[in-house]
Every structure is written in structure tokens, then in C-alpha cells.
Symmetry: D2
Subunit: 137 residues, 4 copies
């Protein structure tokens, strides 16, 4: 599997009047987590787009256990359990605060899309091959 | 059941460089939908907080079928299928564009929390009673 | 001059832990205001982009007088005092709450950019002509 | 004077369909910059609030020179030129991309507010004293 731990500091504008990080903000945090995971593969998500592949989200699920607060340092643990088969790339998430408390768990599934045709496509070889070193038996 | 249809116009800052509405923005759209549903009960979510009840989100799920674009008029259909039992309030969602195409489906579950103690609590009577006219047999 | 009044309801995620609308959110509100002003001209900002013109912001200024709160209905008054000359389009703003209190005043200046060349350009004739009926002597 | 340089990586959701960082996002970047500047004083903005002081923004000005793009690493240079007198704290800003190009310049003025009374107040001594080591003649 591939796993990365990314740290993010909660911004003031990300809180709401309850004093919590707004529930929709984690979509951004999760995105930062998978961008950093992808960098482990040797290229950036930016380069993926430049090579003609878009990766829109088709499913997002999150269960909130504890709130995060302003100025907290959050660790986003992002995990990819298998080499993506077909068109889907499923990322699993856990967020922790600096005391190691589990804040939420979630899952985001991306699909592979050809930028030119706008159609779903299997991951190209250069993309799939980059996963292999992390999953060698 | 209670159901409301709320219209929202996509803002420029809600798009991303793919040209789609960013996947995390729907958390806000869904929130607008349930606020308007709650208004059907005869009070605003603001008043709920003023009466000492917080309603944080504990679960958020969304499946994206089609993207929305800048300046699209989105209809957020919000449904509550049963009078909430215990501490949870589960809202179901469907978003449509102006051509009636289904953009996404989702679910958001809120829990009822006492603002003073910070603890979960069953919905108070004044709150639960407000649902009854919509669910008469 | 051209002037429009656009109403916006404050969303929960737009508040911060101070209980105010976050100061950066007004960039979005102002944008909604000028989009609605532009619609008075007979086309949408979306169409402007489709015709090959981008209108990035080069200057944004805002003075905050009073905070806005969750669920407030805000009126965004957007004013264009003159037919744009050269490449710049300067919009002036005032926001009010539902009690008519002035919340903030501001200014946003856009520039006209050719989408193909990426270079600044004067407003094309079809664009400038659309302003004329509002400024007849 | 006090000056800090804070690095931020542009998130996908912060871009818009023009492919630029949305103009309103810099309000958040600037906020991150001043939070890190304040940390140089020996306490966090969070602690300032806990000690009963709120620092709402009363003025925000920004001039955009060049756009920032997805995945860019932005340096936010935040400067405070004088020990704050009276109720106002004026921060000056310059943002640079990783090639050292100036992206924008700006200014944000905060005011000091007593959390209990909700009224403007001069900076308390513990706050003003913290600035002194940076401005010794």
C-alpha cells in the first residue's frame, strides 16, 4: 500500500461560528492529502493534468468523530490499499489532531478521465506503473 | 416526509481549474438546502442555536454523477423521511441542473447537542413537535 | 450609471469562530454583485468568457464598518459610474443588512484580457456598446 | 519592524475556471501570514482571543500583478512597520511565487476589540510590550 501523512494548520476562515472547522473544509484537506500521496509516485497531480488526464471525484464519504479547532495542527493520513484497477482510484483517510485523537475517517474515489475526449479511461501505463514499487510482493 | 427545493446560482469562486464546481462546495449547498427545509418547520437554524441546541454534522456522503458549471442554476432537493428519533437527523439530497439532469445524490446526518453541556441530547419537544404536521398519517 | 441590488443569504460555512462573516467571503459576494450587474447589459459573464474575453481582478479594496451574521440577508449594491474606457472596469460596492445598516464599502477593478493571446485589450465594441443605453445623456 | 515569510502550497479548490487562484483566496493567505508573524511575538492569535481580545479586519486592500496557479508554492511576506499605536494594527503584504515573481501587494488593518464589551480598545500592555524587542533602536 501507499500511505502519506500530511500536516495542515487550521486557518481562521476555516472555522464556523460553532468554533469548529466547517464540515465541508475536509474536502480540501483530503485533497491536499492525496496530492502529497501522489507526489510519492514521482510526479505531481499538476503533471497528471498536463499529460492529459483529469481525476474528478465521484464519491466522497466522511464520518466526523471529533471537531478540529482554529490553529490545530491536523495530520491527514491518506492510504491507497491497492494498485488501481480500471478507472477508479479509491483513497482512504484518517485525520488526527496533535494529541493523536482521531477526528474523522473517510474515503474519496477518483476516476480517470481523458482530458481531450472527456470520457472515462483506464489509468494509462505510465501512471499505473508508478504505483508498482509500492506494492511489490 | 418533509421536502424542500432550493435554488442556488453557481459562483465563479466555486469553480476549479477543471471548470467544474469544486467537489467540496456541495457541503455548503447541502447546508443551504437543510436550512431552507428547517425554515418550513417555522423557525430558522439560527433560532435553534439561540435556544441552546447545536446541530453538528456527523456523517456526509455524496455521489457525483455529473459536474455543475459556472452560472448554472442548481436545485437542491432536501428530504427528511421520518420524524427524527433519538439524537440523529438524517437529510437526503439530490441536486439537479436547470435541464433537470441529476448532478449528485447524498446524505448528511446531524446530531443534536446541548450548547451548554456540549453533550449529545435527544431533540427537545418544541423541536420534535414542529415536525409532526408534516408526518400526519 | 448602472446599478444593481443583489440579495444574498449568509451561509453557515461563511461565518468564522468570531461569529462574523469571514472578511474574505465578501470577495465572493462582490463577484455575485457584478455578475448580476452585467446581466443587466443583456449577457452573462459566462458569455463574455465564451466570446473570448477574460476579466481578472487587478484591484480589490474593502472597508468593513459592521459585521454580518449567519442567516442575515445582505444586499449588495454594485455601481458602475462610467462607460469603461481602455482596459479597466471599476465597480463600486456597498453592502447592507436587512435593517439597512451599511456593512462595508469597496471597489473592485477588472481588466479586459484576450483569452487567446492572454494579453490586455480594450473592451471589444459589442461589450462597450452594451453599456451605452445606461449612460445616455 | 517585524517581518515573516510564510510558505503556502496552492490547493486545487483554490483555483477557479480561469486556472488562476481565485482573487478572494488571498484573504486567507494574508491571514496565515499575519498569524505566523504574531507567533514571532511569543504567542498565537488563538491565545490573544483566549485572553479576551478579538482582532477583526477593518480594511483590506490588494493589487494583483500576476496570477498564481495550482500547486505553486507561494511565499507570503508580512510586515509590520511600527509598534501599533491606538486600536489599529496595519499589516503590509507581498506575495511571491517560487521563481521570485511578485504576485500581489496588499494591506490589512486589524482593530483591537474587547471580547466582553464588544468595544474597540487600545492594545493591552502585554500585547504591546511583545512588539518592543523587534523595534529597539
Amino acid at each position: 500500500m501507499i500511505q502519506s501523512n500530511t500536516k495542515i494548520r487550521v486557518r481562521y476562515g476555516e472555522t464556523d461560528q460553532m468554533g469548529y472547522v466547517y464540515y465541508g473544509v475536509y474536502a480540501q484537506y483530503y485533497e491536499v492529502g492525496r496530492v502529497e500521496t501522489m507526489r510519492l509516485l514521482g510526479f505531481s497531480y499538476k503533471e497528471v493534468e498536463e499529460r492529459g488526464i483529469l481525476l474528478p471525484v465521484v464519491e466522497f464519504f466522511i464520518q466526523y468523530k471529533k471537531p478540529a479547532y482554529y490553529d490545530d495542527e491536523i495530520t491527514i493520513e491518506t492510504t491507497l490499499r491497492e494498485i488501481p484497477q480500471g478507472v477508479r482510484i479509491p483513497f482512504e483517510y484518517r485525520c488526527f489532531n496533535s494529541r493523536g485523537e482521531l477526528l474523522n475517517t473517510g474515503k474519496v474515489t477518483l476516476v480517470c478521465k481523458d482530458k481531450t475526449t472527456g470520457k472515462l479511461c483506464p489509468l494509462p501505463d505510465w501512471f499505473r506503473d508508478a504505483f508498482k514499487p509500492f506494492f511489490k510482493p
